[in-house]
């Protein structure tokens, strides 16, 4: 019984980790290439979820909704870049934090203005609504399997693009030393716009994928943004590989911690105290983990900058 539960929670952790990776990938590149703190990355995730909710209600199908939502999320990301972000590259981190904080306030309220404060729900697509038996007596929803598969496919594609194409090479070079890339005659601004647009689209994709299993509501990106920051800081800013490993670690540690911490503590404490401290410690685990990583490696596990 516990083994089954453990397996299910591990799958949930993996799924959560992959979603985190989709968000963190764009964030870490934007951070790495342009040294730009984008707090508004979490609202891109929210916008993705709202777009898919709106489009799938309009077309009546989740698939079409997703297909329409992705280019819209990309266009929206590029629009934000042109309107706000490109004016902030030369500013210091403090000003970037503030301006993007303003965007969060604005967009959270805007979705409330357009769609109302009540959470929207997106139905799970018909073909993926069932569960599948993975092992003996172990049922797992097909849709969550689909998220895991989609996350792995996107991660693999991203790996191919970043490590085996010209644009990917420029992105890696930009994360290591942006001014040198610029000095070699590459238009770093345009490179950044591409990175930014696709980062926004990936975050939007993550939001769209989780829309059927979470409720779509204003502010849904705020907490996941912080987790994405934890991921990229642990992984090392600018490193896709670091972000991938850290995202999976964080996903697993958080999910497993929340379900098993009380049980683990029961070994050393009495049951009621164990469940109380367990529930208190579990949400703090990833932050403790992050502090520990930064204590021993102040620039993350796989720092891109040298």
């Amino acid at each position: 019984m516990t083994a089954t539960l453990f397996f299910i929670q591990a799958l949930n952790g993996l799924q959560f980790g992959l979603i985190l990776f989709l968000i963190a990938a764009g964030l870490t590149l934007v951070f790495g290439v342009m040294d730009f703190i984008n707090l508004a990355h979490g609202v891109q995730y929210m916008v993705g979820a709202y777009l898919v909710a709106a489009f799938s209600a309009w077309t009546g199908s989740f698939g079409w909704g997703l297909l329409l939502a992705l280019p819209t999320a990309l266009a929206f990301g590029l629009l934000l870049e042109v309107l706000v972000f490109r004016h902030l590259y030369d500013r210091d981190h403090l000003e970037q934090v503030l301006a993007t904080f303003g965007i969060i306030l604005f967009l959270n309220q805007s979705v409330k203005f357009i769609w109302g404060a009540a959470p929207l729900s997106v139905p799970v697509p018909e073909v993926m609504s069932g569960s599948v038996e993975i092992m003996d007596g172990l049922l797992y929803p097909v849709y969550r399997m689909a998220i895991i598969a989609a996350g792995l496919v996107v991660a693999a594609l991203l790996y191919l693009v970043v490590s085996h194409t010209r644009v990917g090479m420029l992105v890696r070079a930009g994360a290591t030393n942006a001014s040198m890339v610029s000095a070699l005659g590459i238009n770093i601004r345009r490179l950044f716009m591409i990175v930014f647009g696709f980062g926004a689209m990936l975050a939007g994709f993550a939001g769209a994928m989780v829309a059927p299993i979470l409720s779509v509501q204003p502010g849904m990106g705020d907490n996941i943004l912080i987790l994405a920051f934890v991921v990229i800081v642990i992984g090392g800013i600018g490193s896709i590989r670091g972000a991938f490993l850290a995202a999976l670690l964080i996903g697993l540690v958080d999910t497993l911690g929340r379900s098993f911490m009380p049980n683990l503590l029961r070994l050393v404490l009495d049951p009621s105290a164990a469940s109380q401290t367990g529930r208190a410690i579990a949400p703090m685990l990833i932050y403790i983990f992050m502090a520990a990583v930064l204590f021993f490696r102040p620039s993350g596990l796989f720092p891109a900058k040298r």
């Binding site: 403090l94 800081v233 403790i288």
Partner: protein, 343 residues
């Protein structure tokens, strides 16, 4: 080194010699406000709003001490707010209601938290520092949310404000206002003397060029850590006051959005001036309070339904204002005043 001190000397002496009337004016306004409030008819409302302004001013000023003078962008300053507030709340729920015990405990707790997290955070630089301070604040936030015995997510209502040496004079809004003003003034004078001292000059030196400070024989870490602890204690004091003002504590006091607001207040008022942070807090809270009404009045040309929707969604205007201030108003309100007075 001789060159360095010579280069600095003129700006130092002019900063000391020039008397700035603005802080005096600010504190005079705060001191006069209760008398004006009692003629306004909405005395309770005005007093509680201004008390909040001063409390947030105190917290923002404490942040300015490390942000403006040490360039340490702490994105978790609301955690100290929470420590101060929860110390008051938790001790009160166990029957310890005297501020003379609560406040020292809160200050000690803030100092302890600042010392431990500061020692870890200050090993990192730049973006990593921003993120790790954020992470520590999130830890406390989740800890507070999970304290089922003290209200968990919903928070904890105080049955009464803190006593002072057994007397309950803080129940009077005027007394609370006066106490808050005294705390703010005390913290301001302390911060001002810290900034002027040798310690403050070293801190500013580490802000401008850490390598050079090391080269002339100063280890930045002890200075930065001390400043971080002092700043955390001041914000903890603000937390104690906030708990008493609201008669309520909740994890919402230390969300990361709250930390962001504190940074914004400091920048809005003008970085690295101490009283700028107080102005920033005042402008921020007053905007938050009155922007809905301003919007309602300004949109007289729209129909009623749109007008009420607009004032309900005032944050849609507030966000862009924030962005515009960052993009165009360098130096915040103080920068604006300074530019004005120089023609």
């Amino acid at each position: 080194m001789a060159e360095l001190t010579q280069a600095r000397a003129p700006s130092m002496s002019s900063a000391v010699a020039r008397f700035d009337p603005l802080p005096v004016f600010i504190f005079a306004m705060f001191a006069a406000a209760p008398f004006l409030a009692s003629t306004s008819g909405a005395e309770g409302y005005v007093l509680s709003l201004l008390t909040r302004v001063m409390i947030f001013g105190l917290a923002a000023m404490s942040l300015d001490l490390i942000l403006g003078y040490g360039a340490l962008v702490s994105f978790g300053h609301a955690a100290f707010f929470g420590i101060g507030a929860y110390t008051v709340g938790i001790m009160a729920s166990h029957g310890v209601e005297d501020a003379l015990i609560q406040v020292p405990v809160a200050l000690a707790a803030s100092a302890f938290f600042a010392a431990v997290t500061g020692a870890i955070s200050l090993r990192t630089k730049g973006v990593y520092f921003i993120m790790i301070t954020l992470a520590f604040a999130q830890m406390l936030y989740f800890l507070a949310s999970s304290l089922a015995a003290y209200g968990g997510d919903d928070g904890l209502t105080l049955s009464t404000r803190s006593l002072v040496a057994g007397s309950d004079f803080l129940e009077n809004d005027f007394a609370l206002y006066g106490t808050t003003l005294a705390c703010l003034l005390g913290a301001y004078m302390l911060s001002r003397s810290i900034v002027k001292s040798r310690f403050g000059r070293v801190l500013r030196g580490t802000k401008e060029n850490t390598v050079r400070m090391e080269a002339i024989g100063f280890q930045p870490l002890p200075f930065q850590l001390t400043a971080y602890v002092i700043s955390g204690m001041m914000a903890g004091l603000a937390g104690c006051l906030l708990a008493n003002q609201a008669e309520f504590v909740s994890p919402a006091f230390m969300t990361w959005q709250r930390s962001g607001e504190l940074i914004f207040m400091v920048v809005l008022g003008g970085l690295g001036s101490l009283h700028g942070a107080i102005i920033g807090a005042a402008v921020f809270l007053l905007l938050e309070e009155f922007l809905p009404e301003i919007l309602h009045a300004a949109s007289f040309f729209l129909n009623d339904e749109l007008r009420s929707r607009l004032s309900e969604n005032w944050q849609m205007v507030f966000g862009p204002i924030l962005i515009l201030i960052v993009l165009f108003a360098r130096g915040g309100v103080l920068g604006f005043i300074r530019r004005g007075s120089h023609g």
